[in-house]
Homo-oligomer: 336 residues x 2
DNA sequence: TTTTAGCACTCATGACAAACGAGTGCTAAT
DNA sequence: ATTAGCACTCGTTTGTCATGAGTGCTAAAA
């Protein structure tokens, strides 16, 4: 394990590098507040730390930069000394009146603005609610719009094709039946259950069953899995590690592919809702070399429903981001 | 006006520059297929063309590049010789079953993939439709969800607060009344007209008018103006003019601000639905210096409802993009 | 034995000069 | 009116050199 002095030096290097983004030399460390040793001593220790894999040297006559292992150690063992400043508590204040969607949009923007990194929020899957109301509105002869409202107030809409043999009065009857029979069924099971129930009820109706079935199939296809809010993509460009257009490109490619962003937010340990930090190659997604993600899940009415994530260069301000994410998730979870 | 030879030379220069992205010299033009003159002749003409403002010279010992005026002339007078190849007609094929949204998403992706530029599609403003159907679904005591369907099949949803004195049966009655009275009214005028009509009808009902009014206000606040589909932002980075991170940044800033993108799609002549080309400073939006936009509107059931746009460097392949956009808008407009 | 001062050495970076070459404008010949 | 020829311009590339931040090692100091 590391000696107390090595810890202090490692901390100093990471801390300095996070600020300056340039290799730190022994001289700089020696002069840093809290470090009392001379440059020469620091040099010796740095050589050792490099041998142990905590530091790297871009070239012989340059200072040292933290390796991934170094960052990991910093986050795990040296960060607690960073007292999360609770002072600006009003930053986390929410406007309860706003829709959840807008809320998340705002938080995402705020967070990226405060950190200067990229922010992602994945919202609840609708499929978790229960059926509250259903309408079908015919638009043309063949096309209608279905609207499904869940008990959480979320609205799902589909465009559906009306089979030729089905008249609008039939549809009306079907809707009435569903609104009578299927209320309260979890959306995720709607497809199966509604089909069964309708099948039973239709015995005394004369409509062609297979046509009704295909309509129901269309009605209850919930494919839209998760909503995503992104902010601050361009802020990343201010980070010196993205001075290179090619790196920018791979990052933006990521942003355009929603699945990959969702993958970033997928927690390592599914049931653990606290703050999780993934550094560099610990991220199992391509195109984010040299980056770190910090994520945390929030809950609504005691169900874990979404995840907040911040993506930045490995040289990111872990302390600040962690305390901010903590604040926002708590604030969201406590929302009435 | 330009002589036939000057036109040919101007055409050659623009055409070549579009491919190579590098200043074109007299030698290159002279060797180009279709040009029979010697380099020296070309040089003379190029000097003239520069004097007239169609060409520019980065520095004395470099070739020429087209000025904005040059591009404008190219687009207006030299492009028709580019026979739009109708061959790959199946590119424009649509999957009629898909939702309009998905359709546009796909077209946008396709278009940017074919051109390697950025593609934008603005979907119809809902406010342009007419009321087809309205429901209000109570979620809790105080909160309800309103769903408005337009005659174009678009769905608008709001969360609204129920005033204390209003019971659910009152709401039901109100909805019935509206569905009876207000069908067919343009959404944009709904707020005024519905309020007036309801006022009349309410004479024989006993509900507290101001409360009803505030509810209606909430119902008919259409703030979400236009939906946007973007693709190929990252493809722009492959263009040599975006090798510079700062240019990328200003472009991405634009992308994050939706209003500005919408402004890009706003046609110059509102009623003209054909293909429109804006070159360089003709674009009245900041942050797109050195870019051109090509736009065209498509209609649905003879109402102009949306716009397709392609944003690229001024040095973009106008011919290709124009014929592609033409194809896609036609294809969309013919969608049953 | 541990820490520190001193010093020679490394190597990326920036400045400057020379060589290069793509392209031009002009003139004279066709 | 067109074109071949040639001197000239100027951005780019290449090479060399000086600079300085930072290191590793050794020997002195604590």
């Amino acid at each position: 394990m590391l000696t107390e002095r090595q810890k202090k030096i490692l901390w100093a290097i990471v801390d300095e590098y996070i600020i300056s983004a340039e290799p730190v030399g022994s001289r700089t460390v020696s002069k840093k507040k809290g470090v009392g040793f001379s440059a020469a001593t620091v040099r010796n220790e740095m050589a050792d730390l490099e041998e142990m894999g905590f530091l790297e040297q871009p070239h012989t006559s340059a200072g040292r930069i933290p390796s991934e292992k170094g960052y990991r150690f910093y986050v795990d063992h040296l960060l607690h000394s960073y007292v999360p400043k609770e002072e600006d508590h009003d930053v986390f204040l929410l406007d309860q009146a706003e829709k959840l969607e807008q809320e998340m949009q705002r938080i995402s923007a705020r967070l990226s603005q405060l950190t200067n990194y990229m922010t992602m929020i994945a919202s609840p899957k609708l499929v978790e609610g229960h059926l509250k109301h259903l309408s079908i509105v015919p638009i043309t002869e063949q096309i209608a719009v279905s609207v499904i409202v869940s008990d959480k107030g979320q609205v799902e809409q589909h465009q559906i094709v009306i089979p030729e043999m089905i008249s609008s009065s039939m549809i009306e009857e079907l809707v009435n039946l569903l609104n009578y029979r299927a209320i309260g069924i979890p959306l995720s099971q709607l497809r199966k259950q509604a089909l069964r129930q309708i099948n039973d009820d239709l015995h005394h109706l004369l409509y062609p069953k297979p046509l009704i079935s295909t309509m129901l199939e269309q009605l209850f296809m919930f494919e839209q899995p998760e909503q995503l809010f992104l902010s601050g993509t361009t802020r990343m460009l201010e980070q010196p590690e993205f001075r290179d257009v090619d790196k920018v490109r791979s990052l933006l490619d990521l942003v355009e592919a929603n699945e990959q962003v969702l993958q970033l937010l997928e927690p390592i340990e599914p049931m653990f809702t606290g703050v999780q930090v993934r550094i560099g190659s610990e991220i199992a997604v391509e195109g984010v070399e040299g980056c770190s993600v910090i994520t945390a899940s929030f809950e609504l009415e005691n169900d874990p429903v979404g995840t907040i994530g911040v993506l930045g260069p490995t040289r990111m301000d872990y302390g600040k981001v962690i305390s901010l994410i903590e604040g926002f998730t708590k604030s969201l979870s406590n929302r009435n």
